[in-house]
Subunit: 313 residues, 2 copies
């Protein structure tokens, strides 16, 4: 038995082709479910993955995840199909990228049926995916403590009704700043977060890439900067690793209150900072809790306002 809540993540596993100004990788292990679970496992020993792969998915990649404690009973391998594949090329400043291709392959007919052992999952991460699939997974879990959802511009533009349906059922939306603006139809992020709260989720996390993340819950706003790094290799998966770190932290919280959510935001941002220092998921392979704690201490130094600021002579 675990003393922490279980984390279930549905999303993709993928072959990623990545080009940045600092190098490239082809057929690297990728996908939102992979990044979420590989990040969540640092804080949680019961992390469950739901995804689909094709028959070309290497045993080595399965072992990469299994050896790190990810429960893969929800990974469906479809014979006669190929694994979802994505290619992206980042611009010189790493803030923008062009998608080179998106081959859905096995993902196009994905209709997940959760293993019985997953039905009691407590922290549910609905990674960026067709909202119909997100909805299907949500409907199968019996009594989640918190449902955290990601999405992207494709679903905002092409399946707004299905997206609105899932949004009405989740507790927390994790979303990029540009997508928060698009979803709400407003440029101001404070107004955007309020409008999105009106669609259902009571907790909004806005991811701002190199500028960090904002948490909106009730009347509170909490801000965490991205960790300033000299050497960023590849931003791929940073947003998903953030979600995994966020969920992983919450799995150990007896009460998911405001301080727990703030701390989860810091953990998610810290884990994301390790992800971008290497290509693909490599930054998450040999990380220790000591490394993570050390970086969280660095976050405190980065953001702590001096006590004496209001007591100047």
């Amino acid at each position: 038995m675990s003393d922490k809540m279980s984390v279930l993540a549905v999303g993709t596993v993928a072959f990623d082709r990545i080009e940045t100004p600092f190098g490239k990788r082809d057929r690297a292990l990728g996908g939102s479910a992979m990044y979420i679970t590989m990040a969540a496992r640092f804080m949680c020993n019961d992390v469950r993955l739901v995804a689909v792969a094709g028959e070309d998915f290497p045993e080595e990649y399965i072992e990469d995840m299994r050896s790190r404690g990810i429960d893969l009973r929800g990974l469906e391998i479809k014979p006669d199909e190929l694994t979802f594949a994505w290619g992206g090329k980042y611009h010189y400043d790493l803030n923008n990228r062009d998608t080179l291709y998106t081959d859905l392959n096995a993902l196009s007919s994905f209709n997940p049926v959760l293993p019985d052992a997953y039905l009691d999952s407590k922290i549910l991460c609905l990674g960026n995916l067709d909202p119909v699939i997100q909805n299907s997974v949500l409907s199968q879990v019996t009594n989640p403590s918190i449902v955290i959802c990601d999405t992207m511009n494709y679903w905002i533009e092409n399946t707004p009704h299905q997206l609105n349906n899932i949004l009405s059922k989740v507790d927390c939306l994790v979303i990029n700043d540009s997508e928060a603006r698009e979803l709400s139809g407003t440029a101001n992020l404070v107004v955007a977060a309020r409008k999105i709260r009106g669609m259902g989720p009571k907790i909004i996390v806005v991811k701002k890439g190199e500028h960090g993340a904002l948490l909106f819950v009730e009347d509170t706003i909490f801000s965490v900067p991205a960790y300033p790094l000299e050497d960023i290799q590849d931003p791929t998966g940073a947003g998903d690793a953030f979600m995994g770190g966020f969920a992983g932290y919450l799995s150990g919280c007896a009460d998911i209150n405001l301080d727990a959510l703030k701390s989860a935001l810091v953990y998610g941002t810290a884990i994301a900072s390790f992800t971008v220092e290497h290509f693909g998921p490599e930054g998450l392979y040999n990380l220790s809790m000591t490394d993570i704690y050390h970086r969280i201490g660095a976050f405190r130094n980065l953001t702590s306002i001096p006590e004496e600021i209001l007591n100047q002579s």
Copy 2:
């Protein structure tokens, strides 16, 4: 006698034409020296302005500044000349603007000679201006405690030698993120700050607009977010008001150490947040120290990482 250090700001006074999605103003009081001094005065009762205006500059604008305690002995009024005029139009998200026109007018022949009473100025703000003029002012002040300099892409591109000359003589450079990247020739802001430190200034402040500001000093990085506001009317002057708040806070510090610089960054960001809530300098007119302290408390709530983050069960 003042118990604080004096602040001298050289820069522009101007007629601003401002268009944002929320309104427009024509011939509004503007200019970097105006914004710097109008922001610095909250924390300092000896704030000195150096700028030039034409004969069309209204007595009302002079009174706007004088009534708020700005020392205007360094404001030269050129007969038979017109005041510097600038027009800008902001895009829907307020992060980008087009310059509609820049009429130098009296500024084109500005060659400031400081009043004797200014020569002992302690905190020197070299607002965004021709680096030759910045250098001239710097050379006249006898023994400043700290020299803070701003610049912009125009001087980076058109007068690099003169800019490098002034950079080699200043203590602190306050600069936009895009301009820090341009000046250093690197996309990564941590690397950019280190390269710029190699040009002279030991303290680098990078302004990131709606994403706040970063302080780089020795091996320390300190981050302050912009205050999340629902209602932003006009970003004009926010960067200059930041510099004024930053300098104003330092004027009361017996020792300009790391904590003083961090606190100054928070004050500058707080004052800038009031500036953008109104058009032109209107947000700085009726502000009280109570308002400012209240917002600084809000900044602490916005950024304070919960104490228990490292002690999770």
